[in-house]
Amino acid sequence: MLFTSIIFLFFFLPAVLFGYYVVFKDKREAQTAFLFIASLFFYAWGEPWFVAVMLLSVACNWYFGKAASKARGDQRRGRWVLGCMLAFNISILFVFKYLVFAITNLNALLHVNLPVPEIILPIGISFFTFQSISYVIDIHRGTVNAQESPLKVGFYIAFFPQLMAGPIVRYLTIADQIDHRKESPQLFSEGVRRFLYGLAKKVLLANPMAEIVDSVFALPASEISPALAWLGSLAYGFQIFFDFSGYSDMAIGLARMFGFRFEENFNYPFIARSVSDFWRRWHISLGAWFRDYLYFPLGGSRVKSKTRLIFNLFVVWALTGIWHGANWTYLTWGLYCFVFLTFEKLSGFEKRRLGLLKYLYIHLFLLIGWVIVRSDNMPYAIEYLGRMFSPVSGGWLDVNARMYFEEYKYVFLLAALFSTPLLSNLKDKAKGSLLSPRAVYVSGAVILPLLFFVTLTYIIKGAYNPFIYFKF
């Protein structure tokens, strides 16, 4: 079930709100159980069989959590529990997400003919598996206590707002809120606002960009002019940002409607001035996960030798890349980030004052990187990148590039505007200005319903609405 679907907006969400606030009002345990069951229904709507995978993950990780808790103080036993937990979770992830890729590449490399199974990837498996892993590790570290109730573990793992596209929520964030959250009209209202902004980002900005991206990347690379190549990459950057951050906004907003506060997942990444800064602003929950559960245990930056530092960064970024999908392009992109991050760390790049050159640097890094991420395979990515710098027979600019720019100029403009904090800063200035608070308030009260209405027209018409998280 998608957040942008009619069934979610007008049936599922109102039904869940009704059940939560009316049927099970003031019954905390029942409310949590209800949300868990609703989440399973939400997940089953996409693919009913996946619920079995989800429940298996919940049951096993609940058990591992209990075992890790009992093993505190016994280092050997604790490691044994962690090892089993990691083997289980990584195996599930490997089988559903990477097995086909592994076998296909083995067949190509070794010239054998191993049978390639047909496996459907459960949606959101990368997200809920990482959440499960972090849960048990945090128990092992003593950061949190094990949850006695499997239902509450299930709720933590399967809660529908963050289930399909994150953010990756730590159990520490949510543990106390499961039993002691405080719903309020203020928080609910904030949630609605956040949800609607996320919905608008996805429907009004990400989806139109996706129309361009899917058309451009469907062309043979040899038919793409440099202008179209750059436009396609720019459009993809906007698509993935507004889609992903839009989903995160919707997740955070929905969680607030039920009294939960999640951590932020994006912080205007396109105003970053280095690759390191970009990764502190982009998919923050993923970066933090790899930092806390892989980078720091490997020693992080506090290692004695540069070689070890480089090795740590290499492992983290190779796995970050491959987490995104079972394709050489994702691994390449992860290593692409690794190269630049290592350069920045070793050269002290972030401390240097380079003014606008830094923005040029980061955006060039991104525009090239997006091509790698979006391409179906590396040969295409390489050819596409080549096209960015050398014209085809038609020259630097072709009719397609002109067409996309003409047809989508307003969307590009709005995308550029909303990818910066410009409007947010203007709003803050307006609040502190001579404009009456009422004027600022009323304009907000008019803009949001209008935005919601416009978004609805796109959803109900059935405009192009791709779901890009099926790879995760």
Binding site: F10, A445, L456, Y464, N465
Partner: protein, 394 residues
Amino acid sequence: MERVEKIKIGFFVCVLVSLGVLTLCTGYRRLGECVNASIRNPEVWWAKAFIAGADNGLNEAFFEKEFFVNCYGSLQKLQGRQIVTDVDKSNTVYLLSSGLLTFTSPRFDMSRCAGKLNELSGWLEQQGIGMLYVQTPPKTRQETPDLPYWLTDYHHFNTNDLLEQLTAVKVLDLRKELQKEQIRTVDFFYKTDHHWNTDAAFWACGKTVTCLGESFGFSFDSRACHIDNYTRHSLPAGFLGSQGKRVGEIYGGIDDYEWLLPRFETDFQVTIDGAEASGNFETTIFLKEKVDKTKKPSTNRYYAYFGDDHGEKIIINKRVEKGRVLLLQDSFGIPFSAFLALGVHELRVLDLRSFREQTLKEYVSDWKPDVVVLLYNPMSYTKKREHTMFEFGL
């Protein structure tokens, strides 16, 4: 402050609940149809079929969907857009410089289709049966293209590719006839629908029977060919077609719907998918409810003749003694076959997209028509249609 927040929350929840409830109340029938149609697919597990049907049904039956589509179209018009995309890319609508809306076609290799048609013609000739392939025109012009400069449409390309390979088939290319008579596509096509209009179908029928007469000595009741023998009726601003429904009236405009009814006496026995009816043209072939002006413009007026696409139609004209024609058609044949039926004794119409009871070979062997006419439009030149409309069981 809390009171204000509660009002906002109440408003938000009310909007969601109201639209959901109104959708169920006004659209439960359509929702039920979509779910039933989905569940009937034996290849899909019933739970997944139910989910797909429900999703699809809610999208189709949403409360006042046309109003929202109209608003969406207005926003696209404000931006000056000439493309209106759709969740299904093949339903993307383009605005031509002539003001017409159109879909486009990708390039398609017509060799297989051409081979099948040549084979069919040869086999029919062996049976002593004539065959005429009638090529309907697409909405876009070939000689003076009205597409946006950046848009390539392959309707004409695919059509030319097919016709060039029809070495053993008698062809009537209506595009050439249009050009000869300098008829504009805006006069023969709906602005907001992918089909041609009633006048175009009538004109095409006249051209077809003339060609049948010249090529195969086929005789046709001349009363049916003269426009003066018909009364013309109109529903001004009464038709929002398949493309118009996707973009709204503000973006794409709206069409008048006109229909022709014979002045002369008629008497038919019509069997459609096994169901029989007897009576005159207006009771057996023309469906008055489709032109009811109290119904919304989004009512599919195009199906005023015969009501819908059907796998098989058997039309016996008791006022005409001669002529047995088998017509293979897609939806362009619907009004066309109504006029053709007025001039022959028996017209049988097959739509191979849905007719599965027999192969064409078996059908022709059983019934033995005087002549076989194929009337296909360039939108049918696709991979999906290749394996139905061009499969004749030879």
